[in-house]
């Protein structure tokens, strides 16, 4: 058959590569600022836009979706065209994908800084931007599937299987987790509440790790590693087995983020076992990658691209072993809510994603600029500084996590908590936090060396925007399986069927876990004393969400003696039924707050304490790392949206009385005046219309309903 001449679009690859470098530096520098705030809380600068709760989502989203996301697009746009022997389906769609994605990132950074957030981790974007994400993601998928369909190769390679799984799964996850009812342009309430919201969120959150940070990068590994090593892939059959096992099993594992929470026991068990079963399928990718290097290990010593790849794949193997271990209840009791999780996440992000992204960039930038990498020495320096950075980042956090978890759990001989003041367990970790900041700084130095090296490579080279290639047109193949053609081999030349099978594989786990929480009432036993928030408390809760309090404070007391002694009653599924969104949190940089309002409880603080604490936490305790929230005291509470908020809540099934929306602000003012008067009696003059009043009202509500329920367990604790 006659060869057709066509051109690969390198311009889109170049654009994504530049964006990767740009956002990578920004995302990591914001991360460093967060790390330094653990040591010097004054680095919040006393303004809302730079406090921890607001910039933590900027860091996580920038690294995941901006740095790794653009890196993923760079690699996919480069490899997909070459694996399909075809230019991208549409240059216009490529451009929309690129510019749309950058626009989303800019919107994300601006809205998070302004406190516009849904309060759901890694899914903080508000609804208009969520819609934009969905549209751009569909554009990406459309462009990709279109390219695959007009390919000039008979079969689709394993890298493309992973790209397809990435596309279909992220689409399903993003849309399902983002379903919400708008209150206004910048505020919405998720349709899920409490336990259901938690499960949907962590089904999303865990699988964002799986299908945004893992599967596309396995695809990139399958293309760039054999290309860079010039070696054949070790085992085709291993790639089939581990691909399908991985995508089928991964989707079930979300509940491991909710062990010892109020999630029903059976769902927790599923989270445990599916995580443990993931070890082998995950390692399948590592094994196929490392064994592909058989016979090329001498080159690993010399070629920085391969060096980065080997450490990336090894980090992948480490974190995919560590993950399942953290998913067992024994380890999770220690690792959850501590810096262990943070260390684990960064082995993945810095080692696997970061190093593989730079391997890809070091591979393809010299090629599209028709030159050699500017300096192998600088690349090697980047490699060693980066590797050291990862170690210095993670090891202190593991050490700190075990230290802190032990302190939380330690009792005196008399049966009292040895460290009843949470702050003591934070102060103890300050040296670890300093070491972590040094590790992160080293990694950033490496990144800057990388950028320098690539910029000089680009300057020395000549960009090739249209790269000519030729291949025969794809002969029309029979739709049915040929004799002797295996099912999988057949599926590999039917990309649409392949996508459908992949979609089915990832739907099963989610459906089996999520649907019963809606249909079977016993999963979330109701508690009669649990009532909807008052309008003032609801407004206060929205401020709590806005400021990202959940990034440091959990609202989930685990059923451990050490936690019921420290906080009070352990968490019950029925207490969260009006929480749109849930605010359980995943990390305790400060104490759990879910029993804050229990007057006889160990966590209770009077209104005046909260006022003084928000104004200047260090005045009450010099060691505190809590940032000041003085603007809550000066800013007026916006009550123009109270009625709308009540109506949306009613629509979502929260049982406010009929027509309550019109009376809500009256009740709000009565409650606010009560709190202002109480503060006045303590010598604090503050108008009832300030945000601080709503915040105090919300904090003082936390846990009250459950403790007034006289549940059987309550009497066991405090006889």
């Amino acid at each position: 058959m006659e060869n057709q001449i066509f051109y690969y679009d390198n311009k889109i690859v170049k654009n994504f590569a530049y964006a990767t470098l740009f956002w990578g530096v920004i995302g990591m520098v914001v991360g460093l600022l967060l790390a330094l705030q653990f040591i010097w809380p004054a680095l919040s600068f006393g303004i809302p836009y730079t406090t921890f709760g607001r910039i933590r989502p900027i860091h996580t989203n920038a690294v995941i979706f901006a740095f790794v996301g653009n890196g993923m697009f760079t690699g996919i746009y480069y490899s997909l065209q070459r694996l399909c022997k075809a230019r991208m389906f549409s240059d216009l769609l490529s451009k929309i994908n690129f510019w749309g994605w950058q626009l989303i990132i800019v919107f994300a950074a601006l809205t998070f800084a302004c406190g516009i957030t849904t309060g759901k981790e890694y899914a903080e974007l508000e609804w208009p931007i969520d819609i934009l994400v969905a549209v751009i993601w569909i554009v990406f998928g459309w462009n990709m599937i279109g390219t695959i369909i007009k390919r000039r190769t008979q079969h689709i390679y394993v890298a493309i299987w992973f790209y397809i799984a990435t596309f279909v799964t992220i689409a399903v996850l993003h849309v399902t987790n983002s379903l919400a009812i708008p209150v206004g342009l910048f505020k919405s309430y998720p349709i899920y509440a409490g336990v259901q919201d938690a499960l949907v969120q962590w089904w999303y959150g865990h699988n964002a790790v799986a299908f945004f940070l893992t599967t596309p990068f396995l695809g990139l590994m399958y293309y760039f590693l054999p290309k860079a090593a010039n070696r054949p892939v070790y085992s085709y059959r291993l790639s089939i087995v581990h691909f399908w096992a991985l995508i089928f099993l991964y989707i079930w594992a979300g509940p491991h983020h909710l062990l010892y929470s109020a999630l029903p026991g059976w769902a927790q068990s599923l989270g445990v076992v599916f995580s443990v079963m993931l070890i082998a399928p995950s390692w399948g990718g590592m094994v196929n990658g490392l064994l592909t290097l058989r016979g090329a290990w001498d080159r690993v010593r010399e070629d920085p691209v391969l060096k980065f790849m080997v450490v990336a794949v090894t980090a992948y193997g480490m974190s995919t072993f560590e993950g399942p271990m953290m998913s067992t209840k024994t380890v999770n009791a220690i690792s959850h809510f501590t810096d262990w999780t943070v260390g684990h996440a960064h082995i993945g992000a810095l080692g696997w994603n970061g190093f593989l992204t730079f391997a890809v960039l070091y591979y393809l930038i010299p090629r599209i600029f028709q030159t050699q990498l500017y300096s192998r020495k600088v690349a090697n320096l980047h490699f060693w500084i980066g590797t050291l950075g990862i170690i210095f980042y993670a090891v202190p956090l593991y050490w700190g996590a075990i230290t802190q978890a032990s302190m939380w759990k330690e009792f005196t001989a008399d049966g009292f908590l040895k460290y009843p003041n949470f702050l003591e367990t934070v102060t103890q970790l300050k040296p670890m936090y300093a070491a972590r900041a040094i590790g992160g700084s080293l990694y950033i130095v490496g990144i800057i060396l990388g950028v320098y090296n690539l910029v000089l490579t680009i300057k020395a080279g000549k960009f090739l925007p249209e790269e000519g290639a030729s291949a025969p047109a794809l002969a029309k193949a029979a739709g049915k399986r040929g004799s002797g053609e295996g099912i999988h081999r057949w599926l590999e030349r039917r990309p649409v069927q392949f996508s459908i099978v992949a979609l089915l594989a990832i739907l099963i786990g989610g459906i089996i876990e999520i649907v019963p929480l809606y249909l079977i009432k016993t999963n979330i036993p109701t508690i009669a004393s649990v009532k909807p928030y008052t309008p003032l408390e609801l407004q206060g809760r929205d401020i709590y969400v806005r400021e990202g309090c959940y990034t440091c404070h959990s609202q989930q007391v685990r059923p451990f003696r050490s936690e019921t002694e420290r906080y009070g009653e352990y968490a019950k599924a029925g207490e969260y039924v009006y929480d749109h969104p849930f605010q359980w949190g995943s990390k305790r940089n400060g104490p759990d707050l879910s029993r804050e309002g229990v007057v006889n409880g160990p966590q209770y603080r009077p209104n005046s304490w909260h006022y003084n604490h928000m104004m200047d936490p260090q005045r009450l305790n010099q060691q505190s790392i809590m940032p000041a929230y003085s603007w809550l005291i000066s800013d007026d509470l916006n009550i123009t949206n109270t009625a709308k908020k009540i109506r949306v809540m009613q629509f979502l099934g929260v049982p406010y009385p009929p027509a309550y929306d019109s009376k809500a602000n009256d009740d709000l003012m009565v409650q606010a005046t009560g709190i202002a008067n109480d503060l006045k009696s303590q010598g604090i003059q503050v108008e009832p219309g300030k945000e601080i009043i709503a915040m105090i009202a919300y904090l003082q509500r936390l846990g009250k309903d459950v403790h007034s329920a006289n549940l059987p367990t309550a009497s066991v604790i405090r006889k």
């Binding site: 892939v233 927790q268 009292f416 003041n421």
Partner: protein, 195 residues
């Protein structure tokens, strides 16, 4: 795994492994080595472990769910020592004066008390403890009582769940030494003058 064209068997030069014919993707070739034995066993073991786990926890339910775990833990811990002195407070007790006890009392103060009464006891959220006034009584035994059972409605929590009898006495004794110290920025006097 599947049939391939066997006419032109190509081999990988370095390892001698057979290359799959028809598998050429942008010059990436594929071998078809067997799944590593240890890997297959690892997978099988995790699956068997999972089946056993679900069977034990969720089918025959002989292993405890977390609520039961918690009850067991509480039972094993026994009734905490807390709360013994609240029932009958001895009004004849006198403040400790030995330096060791006062130092320990000060250490507790630093951890627990200063967050409301401030470092020097000048008061902020809680009352000033350095002046000659008191809301709940100036006598040592009354200070012990307030620390022990608290005044929850005013924000003074009961410390009997966090401090034992001896520690409460130490910190109360330390508190007594603050009276008359005149730290900067004191909170205005509250309550009644001490005799």
């Amino acid at each position: 795994m599947e049939m391939h064209d066997h006419k032109n068997i190509e081999k990988d030069e370095l390892t001698g492994d057979k290359l799959l014919s028809g598998h050429d993707y942008d010059n990436i070739k594929e071998l078809d080595n067997n799944l590593p034995k240890w890997w297959v066993w690892l997978f099988i073991i995790t699956i068997v472990w999972s089946v056993v786990y679900i069977f034990v926890f969720d089918v025959i339910k002989v292993a405890p769910y977390q609520q039961k775990e918690w009850e067991n833990e509480i039972a094993a811990a026994g009734v905490p020592a807390q709360g013994q002195i609240s029932a009958a407070i001895d009004t004849t007790i006198i403040a400790l004066t030995d330096q060791a006890s006062l130092d320990e009392g000060k250490a507790i103060w630093q951890k627990q008390c200063k967050v409301c009464h401030l470092e020097g006891g000048q008061g902020l959220v809680g009352p000033n403890l350095t002046d000659n006034y008191s809301i709940h009584g100036c006598e040592y035994w009354k200070v012990v009582k307030v620390i022990t059972i608290g005044v929850p409605e005013k924000g003074m929590i009961s410390w009997k769940t966090q401090l034992n009898d001896a520690d409460i006495k130490k910190v109360a004794s330390f508190t007594m030494t603050l009276r008359g110290t005149n730290p900067p920025n004191p909170k205005a006097p509250q309550g009644d003058p001490c005799k």
